[in-house]
């Protein structure tokens, strides 16, 4: 595996981050639409099956992402972050990483406990067995609640995460967002960015 500089994310970290982000927003939208009662029942059935398959992809990618984070070197926090910001960002990142595992597992549990007993046929390629749990309406209701509430929590944290990234990019003019886009941040940006007044200089640095 390529060794990354301490100040930048590698190909896998960036790729996994954006792929998981894209799929999760897709799943949230899909989950919201398919739960609507007015929807065409045949379409609803299809959407559920897509939701289950894509959800399992996210589970796999999130597990891979976690392993990669543990195994590979990852960049230190941006130097301009204060101690509270560091702690808040670490906590948010850990919670997001954890929820990316918990939400799909909770969804898999819903499919495993519902008396509907609809097989999970991963992209119509392979049957994913249910988790070894009993089927009951009470179980389905409970795990549906867990799945939905953790998904909304994930959405809230993702919104916070996006807002923070945009704040860092447009207000603080630091490299927090840029390095997740695979670009180097402004060199020595911490010195310039210590001043709250935005300066045009960092914009030129972004194209490096």
């Amino acid at each position: 595996m390529r060794r990354h500089q301490v100040n930048e994310y590698g190909f896998w970290a960036i790729g996994l981050h954006w792929l998981i982000a894209l799929l999760i927003f897709g799943l949230l939208g899909l989950g919201f639409i398919m739960r609507r009662t007015a929807i065409d029942p045949a379409l609803q059935f299809s959407l559920y099956q897509w939701h289950k398959s894509v959800g399992l992809v996210v589970l796999g990618l999130a597990a891979l992402n976690g392993l990669h984070w543990l195994a590979a070197r990852h960049p230190a926090p941006v130097p301009t972050l204060g101690p509270i910001e560091r702690r808040a960002s670490l906590a948010t990142h850990l919670a997001l990483a954890l929820l990316c595992l918990v939400v799909p597992v909770a969804g898999w549990t819903v499919a495993s406990t519902t008396p509907l007993n609809i097989p999970t046929f991963f992209f119509e390629l392979v049957v994913i067995p249910p988790l070894p749990l009993g089927r009951s309406e009470a179980g389905e209701d409970f795990w549906s609640l867990v799945h939905a509430s953790t998904a909304y929590l994930l959405l809230a944290l993702a919104a916070l995460h996006v807002a923070a990234a945009l704040y860092h990019h447009f207000v603080r003019h630091d490299e927090v967002l840029l390095r997740m886009l695979g670009r180097k941040g402004p060199q020595g940006g911490n010195v310039r960015l210590a001043s709250p007044a935005p300066q045009p200089a960092p914009r030129e640095g972004r194209k490096q």
Binding site: D40, P41, A42, F45, Q49, P115, L116, N117, I118, P119, F121, E124, V127, P129
Partner: protein
């Protein structure tokens, strides 16, 4: 099951039109027109990948069968079932089957079968060909019939047959659920 001895005694002769010896009187006994009784059982299963499947039944149906005393082949059957009455252990599954995704029971309140040919295949078995209409689409289907009981004015058959639901635009959920719907019906008739 309950009257196996009687069945064994009577059945071999019943539908055996070609067996000349003593067959005619027995067949004449069965001959007549019967209304399909509400005590009949219309069961079906649709298998799913990984094992198991949907087990369902229809609770509302009507029909009539006429057994020709001279020739089994001239017998006829007509049958109507009301998909609104579909039932499965899981209520949501039954609702889905009634919905526009499958039977579209509101737009197509009946599924009908009209026999076109009856062919005797054994002492108490026959094959019935006919036209099945569901969701406004008609196809030829075939069912295997086994006479199980004849007692007084009551007659009982077991009827089995496989229907490909894709023919009737009901192939939602394939390939998670197989295309084949397996029917297993206990048809009881009361002589008119």
């Amino acid at each position: 099951m309950k009257s196996v001895a009687m069945t064994l005694l009577v059945l071999p002769a019943l539908l055996c039109a070609s067996a000349a010896h003593a067959a005619a009187p027995e067949l004449a006994q069965a001959a007549g027109t019967y209304d399909i009784s509400g005590s009949s059982q219309i069961r079906f299963t649709v298998d799913q990948v990984g094992g198991g499947g949907i087990n369902g039944k229809f609770t509302k149906f009507a029909g009539r069968l006429r057994i020709d005393g001279n020739s089994v082949g001239a017998s006829t059957v007509s049958f109507t079932l009301y998909p609104q009455s579909v039932a499965t252990p899981e209520q949501r599954m039954a609702d889905f089957l009634r919905s526009s995704a499958v039977f579209d029971a509101e737009a197509y309140p009946t599924v009908t079968f009209r026999s076109t040919a009856v062919r005797q295949t054994g002492e108490n078995t026959a094959i019935v060909d006919g036209m099945l209409t569901a969701r406004g689409i008609t196809h030829r289907e075939q069912f295997a019939v086994r006479l199980q009981n004849l007692k007084g004015n009551a007659i009982a058959f077991n009827v089995t047959g496989n229907v490909y639901r894709s023919r009737y635009k009901m192939d939602v959920g394939t390939p998670i659920y197989l295309n084949v719907v397996k029917f297993d019906m206990d048809i009881r008739g009361d002589r008119r």
